[in-house]
Every structure is written in structure tokens, then in C-alpha cells.
């Protein structure tokens, strides 16, 4: 009874949001694929979104699920106008029509399969039958790419999901039952530097551009352009640069955050991967 009441209340609360998506809404929802805790993600993105609102008058409100699949599910359901994710390049999701407008400056991301530094496992093939932790089944470089390689290498592993990238790393570090982890190499390096985590890499994937900011097809072009321009110029504005440095510092990132304008062509290898992968969704 109590659960039903709460559901109705929740429905009532979310109804205005859903209804406003057809016209020009006063608020756009910005989804962020779960890489870190929600609180840390909010502390990271909220100052950027507030800056965007102050500069453009366009209000973007952070919205995400508890886990990456939940967030992706929300995206798939159309609850996000803008989204910072790389989960939308599979054949099915590509159909949703999200387009790349920006990505962050920096080295492209790679998938990497690692073991603890003191592990007896020296080669990838020794992972056969072993427990491998992944951030989530939705994670591109955290699951699809490494799993595709494992499968194509003829290896079968026992899959374990930690929820996000750093969760998978923490699991490998602390849980002796886990033999290896498949994670985003860029995230791994930041995590290892921050947490002094020592590991050995058994395999690295080809490079992929970092997670892009994509926009739903329902958002009008002017809004997209304005958002695209403000964020692309943010690193050049003192206030914006300061906000970006603060957010980078939150996740121990030494390089400053710089948004660079991008388009779908730069993420073709993603789409190609999804076409050729042996991993089943």
C-alpha cells in the first residue's frame, strides 16, 4: 500500500517533466553515465551546468540512475535531453537519434584488462575460467570491448559487475576472489594515482575517443548550438576555467577539462565495433 502511494507521488512529480519535453522546455535534463558516485558526479557537473545556465540562460538539470544501466535505461526512455555517455553507439541505440556535439579534450580512452600486481596470472589466456569484474554490462570500454576480445580470444570468464569504473577497480583491489578487472584505462590511471593502486595490465584495446556529450534529436538546434558554444568556450573564460579546474580537482584530474566541439564521424569506430562484436547484449 505504502509503495503504491509513493509510486503515485513519484509519478505526479515527474509528470510535468515528461509533458514539457514536447515543446521548448524550461529545464533540460542532463544525463551522465555512472562512472562515479552520484554525489561526486553532481559536485562535478552541477557547477558546469550552473555556469552554462548563467551564460546561456539554458537550464540543464542533472539526472541519472543509480547505476549505468539505469542511467542508460533513462536515456533510452527519453528522459535525458543531453547525455554524457558512450552507450548509445550500438545498432539498437543508434536508432534513438542522439548526436555527438562535444567531447572532452584528452587522450582517447582504451579498455584494459588488469590483474593485481602480485597476481600469479601473467598472460591473458590464464584468465580462462577466472573471475573478471566489469563496471557494468553497458560499459563500452569497461565491458563490450574487453569481453569482445576475450570471447574472440576463446576465453570464458566469470563475469562480475561492480556498477561503475572505480567500483570495478576497488573490487579487484579488495576482493581476492576476483582475479582481473576490465576497465577504462584513463579512469584506471587516475584512480591508481589517487588511491595508490598497483596493478599489471594484461591487454589494452585500440583507442576510442573519450565519452562524448550527445544531444537528443528533440532539442532544437539553437539550444544545441548555444550549449555547444558555451561549453566549448568555457575553458577560455576565467570563470569557466576556474569551474573546470575545480571539477577536475574533484576527481584528481591534473589536466584541465576542456570541451571540444565534435560530431558523430569521430565516433565511427564505436559503431563499427558494435556491428562486429560477438558480445551479446
Amino acid at each position: 500500500m505504502r509503495g503504491r502511494v509513493l509510486f503515485l507521488v513519484g509519478l505526479l512529480l515527474t509528470a510535468p517533466l515528461l509533458t514539457s519535453a514536447a515543446s521548448e522546455p524550461e529545464v533540460y535534463y542532463f544525463g551522465v553515465i555512472n562512472q562515479r558516485s552520484i554525489t561526486l558526479t553532481a559536485r562535478y557537473w552541477n557547477p558546469i551546468l550552473a555556469y552554462l545556465e548563467r551564460r546561456s540562460g539554458i537550464k540543464l538539470r542533472l539526472k541519472m540512475g543509480k547505476t549505468a544501466p539505469e542511467t542508460t535505461a533513462m536515456t533510452v526512455r527519453g528522459e535525458h535531453d543531453f547525455v554524457y555517455t558512450n552507450h548509445l553507439f550500438s545498432k539498437e541505440r543508434d536508432k534513438l537519434g542522439f548526436r555527438v556535439i562535444l567531447h572532452m579534450q584528452g587522450a582517447p580512452i582504451r579498455s584494459t584488462i588488469i590483474v593485481r600486481e602480485d597476481s600469479r596470472i601473467q598472460r591473458l589466456k590464464e584468465l580462462n575460467g577466472k573471475v573478471v569484474v566489469f563496471p557494468s554490462a553497458e560499459a563500452f570500454v569497461g565491458y563490450w570491448v574487453p569481453m569482445d576480445h576475450l570471447l574472440k580470444s576463446g576465453l570464458t570468464v566469470k563475469e562480475v559487475f561492480a556498477g561503475n569504473q572505480e567500483g570495478a577497480m576497488a573490487r579487484l583491489r579488495n576482493d581476492r576472489a576476483v582475479d582481473a578487472a576490465a576497465v577504462n584505462k584513463l579512469v584506471l590511471e587516475r584512480y591508481a594515482a589517487r588511491e595508490n593502486f598497483r596493478y599489471r595490465s594484461l591487454w589494452d584495446s585500440e583507442p576510442y575517443f573519450n565519452i562524448p556529450i550527445m544531444v537528443h534529436p528533440r532539442v532544437n538546434k539553437a539550444t544545441i548550438d548555444k550549449v555547444r558554444q558555451v561549453l566549448a568556450d568555457m575553458a577560455n573564460d576565467p570563470e569557466g576555467k576556474n569551474i573546470l579546474q575545480t571539477s577536475a580537482a574533484l576527481i584528481k584530474q591534473k589536466k584541465p577539462i576542456v570541451f571540444i566541439k565534435a560530431d558523430d564521424s569521430e565516433y565511427e569506430n564505436y559503431r563499427r565495433f558494435y556491428r562486429e562484436t560477438v558480445v551479446k547484449n
Partner: protein, 868 residues
């Protein structure tokens, strides 16, 4: 009301009031604290739920947010409601469903609390996520305070009761201890010094009881010591009283007014005054009979008051009973406990006996000084005697040595001999004086008491005195004051000795004028006085006082100037005293002296008194004994070699006398028993056997020949002894040649001139006949020796003369012919002097001597005496 109820009531009242005040302060503090804590809870809750809510808002999970709010309401009972408003108008809330807590209305009215409402904005990363409205529950806070107040009240009440009980208990215990203390104090006051309190209870009480016990101990000890001190003081007082009373010296003490405070028994006995009579009175009461003495004591007291301390003075006093004492007053001031002079204590020492003893000691000291003076005089005398004896001895020895000089003129030789004789006689007189003195001191002086022709004796003295005076260029006068007794009964020798001494002194100390011997007779005293007047240097009174002391001259300079032993006058007075008389002197310096010998005349039958001086008797003609030859054998027993030589010399001058010499009585006995001698001279003191024993042995063995004692002991008693043991006569030492010849002539006969070729017997053969071979050998060699000497003298070979003479000197004496030795010595001297004439003369003596030796040898060897 007792202390305990009063303290309890007061403490209860104070505690209740304090508790109420503290309670209400506490309540208000509790309210403030509750309010503050509520704020903190709200802040804390917001801090906790804000991120959770943000997360849920980002996710869009409002059900979870609602659930979160409800859970906070349930968890925090202080909150009445929590409401969240989103910026978009969404509102979620949670309400508390708790009911009222049953707090009484009056308690709620004590606080002015309201339901607190707090709005808190929720932001993250600069994005607002709405507001939280939190409403606090005032009733819940008050109820919480109420319950707390009840707990505190009950706790405080319990604590207060416990505190009161504890205080009551402690007070009760301590007050009971105070009661004990009070009781013990009363007991102590009542004299029970042994009471003590058990030291228990609180530290303060233990300290108080400990202090009491300490005080009691100290006081008890103090009382005991006080009692002991009091006893000791009583004992000391008693002892002092006893001491004061029993000290055998008179003691008194007075106050500052001079009033006697007490006197002891000795004082009472000393003055013959009772204590009751003098105590309370001054010294004027004691010396009523002698106010001068009282005044002096009073003045002495005043001096002591003026200068406190000790005062000592002597005073001759007279008691009321008339006893006189020489006293020593020793006084001292004494002080009271404040240190002020309070009186005088005095001690009287009786010096009467001490003074007498001191006088006796003084007398003894004077006598001792006198004795020491006498000793010093004796020492001086000895020094003088030494000088007096050495002087003639020096002359004798010196002139005797000159006689050995063969070159000396005959006149010089005669003068030398005369000097020797004179010095010898002087020496003899000195020794005689000394011997006389020693006899007097030993009370062994022989005094004759025979009738003495007065003028005969005076004539003898005058003859000598006139000669001495004439030699000095002054006159000697004899002035008899008639009538004078014809004879006196006395010792003429001693009278002469005295008068010769007096006249000699007078002549010696008179340079000009005369010396007069005045003789008087006093019929009243029947004494005759011989006054020797001179016009000499005279004597001072001091010199006169010491004149008759032994060994004393007028002064030391007199000795140096005039010589003399200082013995004459002393000896003269002693002799005079021995004769029953005395000598005194009357003299004036530079004018002269008068020495008077006073003697008793003595009872003489048919005494005649002369009115004029009788004619002097004619002296008897002197016999020249030296020229008389005597024949016979003489044995001389004498140990002293000098005396042997002297005897040989004297006897050899008698011509045909055969002399035998032995050294002790034993040899004398042996020689005399072997061959009888015409005469034996027996020295009394000899080694091995003395003369007395030898004489006794000879007489006991029927030896009838004459034996004459040679002795220096010529006292009557000694002579009597010698005669008693068998000596026929005696010759005094030193030997007077004349007297010796007189004795010899008594026992030996003179011979005609020309019969002097007597044989000489070897002394060696006298003592030991077995030595005749040696003597024979010596005699046989004599002619050869004579020839050698003769040739050597003729050839003036003096070295040969000395050699042969030396040989004879050694062998001659050794074989019993000492005369050969003597002649040989002379020959050696002549050889030394290269005197050929004297050597020939002496050689002739040796030739004669050789003949006599040869003639005597057969007789000696046959053991037959020459005078059988």
C-alpha cells in the same frame, strides 16, 4: 539545643536552599542545553540527509526522499515535523505522531520554550535542490527536562540525605571525641596527669588529641621535673645551709645597709658572739669595744659597694672576749636574681698561727742564709788555703830543684835551704792550724791544764814578736798592769798560739807605730786579759761582726794584700773558748784595733801576785845532735818512699847506723824476727799490715827491742793506744829532725869519731836471703865498673860515664843498695854537666861505698845482725 541538632538543622537548611537554587539553575541550563543540542541535531541531521536527498533528487526517487524524511522524524524525537520544498514546488513532509508526556503544567510554565522552526537550503555543486523546514517539538524537550529534573531531584535528595547522615555521623563521632577531650582536660585539671586520649577519628581530631596527649606528656614531664627540681633546690638549700654552718672558717653576709643577715657557727665561736646577737645589727655592734676596727670594716664595705667584686685585706682584731687575732678578711659582693648587688659575703681567715709560722720561717731563712754564707766562706777559705799551701810548696819545690844545680854558689844554696825550711815551717803552721781547727770542730782538741809561769810565757812571745816588729820597722811593747798572778792554770801552748796569732796579726796590719801587748788582771772576775793594741788599718763595724767567723778575713782584698788563711782569729777564739775564755775586738778604721784575750786564772794553790816584772829565765844550751855519731842497726818500716829517703838521710847523718827499710808491717815483722834491731821506727799506717798490728805481733812473739811509732796522729788518746800495744815512744809526722835525734839518743849510744867504715847490707838480702847469688854477682862486678868510670872520667868520656852510671843506678837499687843508685844518679848529673872535678869526688864516694858493701855482704849473707 546541642551542637549536633544545631549543626544538622543549619546544614539541612543551607543544603536545601542550595539544592533548590542549584536545581533551578540546573533546569535553566538544561533548557538552554536542550535548545543548543536541538540546533546541533538539526545541523547534524541536515548534514547527513542533504547529500542523500540530493542524490535521490538527482535520480528523481521522491519515494525514497519521503522515506528518508520519515526515518529522520522517527529517529529524532525532538523534531515535530520535517518538510522538503523543491524549487519546482514539490513538497514532501514527515510528521511526528508522539503524544504528550504527562509533564505538570506548572513545570512547563517554568520555561519559555517555543517550537523551533529551522529552514535549511539544500545545495550541491552550486545547484539548489530545495529547502528543508524542520520544526522542533517543545513538549518533548520539556518532558525530557522534566524527567531529567526528577532524576536530578531524586539524586540530589538522596545525596543530601546521605550527606546529612554522613555529617551527622562525623559530627557525632568528633563531638564525642571532643567530649572525651573535655573530660580528659577536667581530669588533668583535677591532677590526674596520667590521663590520655585514644588518638582516633578525623585527622583534625587525631591532631587535637595528639596535641592534648603531647601537652599532657610535656606537662607531666614538666611536673615531674619541677618536683625533682624543687627537691633538688631544697637539697641544695639545705646543703648550702649546712655548708655555711659547718665550714670551719668564720663566714658572714650582710645586706646593702651593712646589717648582718647571717653568720655561721665558726663565726660565733671565733667572736664569741651568738648569731641571734649580731643578725639584724651592723659591725658597730660587733666591735662596741673597738670602734676604730668597726669603722675600718665599715669603710672597707663602702669601698666594696662603690666597686663591686672581691676585696681582701688583713687586719689585727680584738674580739669582745679580748682575744687578738691576725685576720685576713676576704669579702665579695653577691647579686640577686636580677643581677643587682644585694649584699656582701665575707670569710675571715685566722692568720695568727700563720704569722707566727711565717716569723719562724723567716728566722729559719735567715739561718739558712747565714749557713750558706758560712759555706761560701768555707769555699773561699779553701781557695785561700789552696793558695796558702801552694805558695810555700812552690818555694820548697823550686828551691829544692836549684840545689841540684852543681854550679850554684854556696851562699845561694844556703839561702835556698833556708827558704825551704822557712816555707816548710810555714806550711807546717798552716796545717797545724787546720788540724787544730778540725780537732776543735770534732771536739777532739787536747787542752792541757797546768800551772803556767805567766811572765815566762810572755817572754817567749815577746822575743818572737820583737823580732817580727823589728823586721817591719815598728815597735813591740809589753805592758804588764800589776798586780798580776805569777801563774795561771791553763794550757801554755794554746795561750802562746793565741797570743802569737794576735801579735802576728797586729804586726802584719800595722805599717807605722807600735804593737802593744797589755796584760791585766781583774780580781772581781778572777780573769786575766791580754790586750793586743795596734796602730794599724783598723776595722769597720761590719768587718768586726764577721771577724771571728771561720774562714773569714776583713775582706777579700785583705787576703790578697796580706795573705793568711783567715783561720787565725777564728781558731784563736775557739782555743780561747776551749780554755774557758773569749776574745773580743774593739777597732776603728785607720786608727787601730785592740784584740782582748780574756782567760780565767784558775785555782792555783799558793798563788802569788806580782807587782813587778820578774827576770827572764836563761835559755838552756842546745845540743848539736847532728854532729853526734851513733852506732847500731835501725829498721824503718815506712811505705812512703819520700819518708823512707828522709829517714835514711837523717839516720845516715848519725854515722855508723845500719839502716834496713821495709814497706809494710808484714815485712817489718819478718825482718825483726830474723834479726833484732837496736831500734825500729814503725809507721802506723801502712798497706798489707799496719804498724799497730805489726807491733802487737812482735810484742806477742817476745820481741823486746825498742819500737818507736811514726805517726801523724799525735793526740793523747792515740799516743796512749800506741804505748798500750807496745810502742816505746813516738815521732810525730812531719818529722822534726831534732826530735827524731832526741828519740834515737834515748835508745842508741853515740860512738867515737872515725868508726864510720860500717858495712852495708843489701836490702834485697834482708827481705830474701835466697837472692845472695844475684847480690854476689853485682858486687863482683863493682870493681870493673869503678875502673871503667875512672878511665872514662879521666878521658872525659861523658857518654861512657853516663852509660856506666846508668847501669849502676838500675842494678844498685835492684840488688838492695839504693845508695849506689843515689851516687850513680849524681855521676850521671856530673857527666851531663861535664864536671870532671865533681865526678872524681863522687867516684871517690862510690869507691868508699863499694868497700862498705863488700864488708857487709858476708854478714848479710850469713844472716847475722851487725848488732846482734
Amino acid at each position: 539545643m546541642g551542637l549536633l541538632p544545631r549543626v544538622m538543622l543549619t546544614v539541612s537548611l543551607v543544603m536545601c536552599l542550595s539544592f533548590v537554587a542549584i536545581f533551578f539553575v540546573f533546569l535553566h541550563d538544561q533548557a538552554d542545553e536542550a535548545q543548543r543540542r536541538l540546533d546541533m541535531e538539526i545541523d547534524s541531521m541536515v548534514d547527513v540527509i542533504s547529500p542523500l536527498m540530493v542524490e535521490q533528487i538527482v535520480i528523481g526517487d521522491f519515494a525514497t526522499i519521503n522515506q528518508l524524511l520519515k526515518s529522520q522524524i522517527e529517529r529524532n524525537q525532538s523534531f515535530k515535523s520535517i518538510i522538503w520544498h523543491s524549487d519546482s514546488g514539490t513538497k514532501l513532509s514527515a510528521q511526528s505522531s508522539r503524544s504528550a508526556s504527562g509533564v505538570p503544567w506548572w513545570f512547563s510554565n517554568l520555561f519559555t520554550l517555543h517550537n523551533l522552526t529551522k529552514n535549511v537550503a539544500i545545495q550541491l555543486g552550486g545547484v539548489s535542490y530545495g529547502e528543508l523546514l524542520i520544526v522542533s517539538d517543545k513538549d518533548y524537550i520539556i518532558a525530557k527536562i522534566w524527567h531529567r529534573a526528577i532524576q536530578i531531584f531524586l539524586f540530589g535528595l538522596g545525596v543530601t540525605l546521605l550527606l546529612l547522615l554522613a555529617i551527622g555521623y562525623l559530627l557525632r563521632i568528633n563531638l564525642s571525641k571532643l567530649g572525651e577531650l573535655a573530660k580528659a582536660t577536667r581530669q588533668f585539671e583535677a591532677g590526674d596527669y596520667s590521663v590520655r586520649i585514644n588518638e582516633a577519628g578525623s585527622p583534625e581530631l587525631r591532631e587535637a588529641t595528639h596535641a592534648f596527649n603531647n601537652m599532657a606528656n610535656q606537662l607531666e614531664k614538666l611536673f615531674v621535673e619541677l618536683e625533682a627540681s624543687r627537691h633538688e633546690v631544697n637539697e641544695q638549700l639545705h646543703f648550702i645551709e649546712e655548708l655555711f654552718a659547718s665550714i670551719p672558717l668564720p663566714i658572714f653576709y650582710k645586706d646593702r645597709e651593712g646589717i648582718y643577715l647571717d653568720v655561721n657557727r665558726a663565726w660565733e665561736e671565733f667572736f664569741g658572739v651568738s648569731r641571734e646577737t649580731i643578725v639584724g645589727h651592723t659591725v658597730y655592734r660587733l666591735y662596741e669595744h673597738d670602734l676604730d676596727t668597726a669603722r675600718i670594716h665599715d669603710e672597707k664595705d663602702q669601698e666594696l659597694w662603690a666597686q663591686p667584686g672581691v676585696q681582701v685585706y688583713e687586719r689585727q682584731i680584738k674580739t669582745g672576749e679580748g682575744k687578738e687575732y691576725a685576720t685576713l678578711y676576704s669579702k665579695a659582693t653577691f647579686t640577686n636574681t636580677e643581677g643587682k648587688v644585694a649584699g656582701i659575703i665575707g670569710l675571715i681567715t685566722d692568720l695568727t698561727e700563720l704569722k707566727a709560722a711565717e716569723a719562724r720561717a723567716q728566722q729559719a731563712l735567715m739561718e739558712k742564709v747565714s749557713a750558706e754564707t758560712a759555706n761560701r766562706a768555707k769555699s773561699t777559705f779553701l781557695a785561700n788555703m789552696s793558695h796558702e799551701i801552694r805558695t810555700p810548696l812552690t818555694a820548697i819545690i823550686g828551691f829544692a830543684e836549684t840545689l841540684l844545680d852543681s854550679h850554684a854558689e854556696q851562699q845561694d844554696r844556703i839561702e835556698a835551704i833556708q827558704t825551704i825550711i822557712r816555707s816548710g815551717k810555714h806550711l807546717q803552721s798552716i796545717i797545724s792550724d787546720i788540724l787544730d781547727l778540725s780537732k776543735i770542730e770534732a771536739d777532739r782538741l787536747d787542752i792541757e791544764t797546768i800551772p803556767v809561769e805567766l811572765f815566762e810565757m810572755l817572754h817567749d812571745i815577746s822575743v818572737l814578736a820583737e823580732l817580727q816588729a823589728a823586721e817591719k820597722g815598728i815597735r813591740f811593747l809589753l805592758e804588764p798592769c800589776f798586780p798580776l798572778p805569777q801563774k795561771i792554770l791553763s794550757d801554755p801552748t794554746r795561750i802562746k798560739q793565741i797570743l802569737m796569732n794576735l801579735t802576728n796579726n797586729a804586726i802584719k796590719f800595722t805599717e807605722r807605730g807600735e804593737v802593744t801587748l797589755r796584760v791585766r788582771y781583774n780580781p772581781q772576775t778572777d780573769k786575766i786579759s791580754f790586750e793586743v793594741h795596734d796602730t794599724g788599718i783598723g776595722l769597720s763595724n761590719e768587718q768586726q761582726s764577721k771577724l771571728f767567723n771561720p774562714f773569714t778575713q776583713a775582706d777579700i782584698s785583705t787576703t790578697r794584700q796580706y795573705g793568711g788563711t783567715g783561720l787565725g782569729l777564728y781558731l784563736s777564739r775557739q782555743l780561747a773558748v776551749q780554755l774557758g775564755g773569749d776574745i773580743n775586738v774593739n777597732s776603728q778604721q785607720a786608727k787601730g784595733s785592740c784584740f782582748t784575750l780574756l782567760l780565767p786564772v784558775g785555782q792555783i794553790a799558793e798563788q802569788m801576785f806580782l807587782q813587778q816584772q820578774p827576770a827572764y829565765p836563761t835559755p838552756e844550751p842546745q845540743v848539736e845532735i847532728v854532729n853526734t855519731d851513733v852506732r847500731g842497726t835501725v829498721l824503718v818500716a815506712e811505705d812512703n818512699p819520700e819518708n823512707q829517703k828522709l829517714m835514711r838521710y837523717y839516720l845516715s847523718k848519725l854515722g855508723a847506723v845500719q839502716i834496713s827499710l821495709v814497706e809494710n808491717g808484714e815485712q817489718a815483722v819478718r825482718a825483726a824476727l830474723k834479726s833484732a834491731y837496736d831500734l825500729i821506727f814503725m809507721d802506723i799506717q801502712m798497706p798489707v799490715m799496719d804498724g799497730v798490728e805489726a807491733t802487737q805481733i812482735l810484742r806477742s812473739r817476745d820481741y823486746h827491742g825498742p819500737i818507736v811509732a811514726l805517726t801523724a796522729n799525735t793526740m793523747k788518746t792515740d799516743i796512749a793506744v800506741y804505748k798500750e800495744i807496745g810502742c816505746n815512744d813516738f815521732v810525730a809526722k812531719p818529722i822534726d829532725q831534732k826530735k827524731l835525734y832526741e828519740v834515737i839518743l834515748r835508745y842508741m849510744h853515740p860512738v867515737a869519731e872515725g868508726e864510720d867504715e860500717s858495712a852495708i847490707i843489701s836490702q834485697l838480702l834482708v827481705n830474701d836471703a835466697d837472692m845472695s847469688d844475684i847480690v854476689q854477682l853485682f858486687i863482683d862486678g863493682l870493681d870493673e865498673k869503678l875502673q871503667e868510670l875512672r878511665e872514662a872520667i879521666e878521658g872525659q868520656n861523658w857518654q861512657q860515664v853516663r852509660f856506666v852510671a846508668h847501669n849502676l843506678k838500675g842494678t844498685g837499687g835492684g840488688v838492695g843498695y839504693p845508695m849506689v843508685t843515689e851516687v850513680a844518679i849524681r855521676l850521671m848529673i856530673h857527666a851531663e854537666q861535664t864536671d870532671q872535678q865533681a865526678a872524681n869526688s863522687t867516684l871517690q864516694e862510690l869507691v868508699t861505698l863499694t868497700k862498705r858493701i863488700k864488708s857487709g855482704f858476708p854478714a848479710a849473707s850469713s844472716g847475722v845482725s851487725a848488732n846482734g
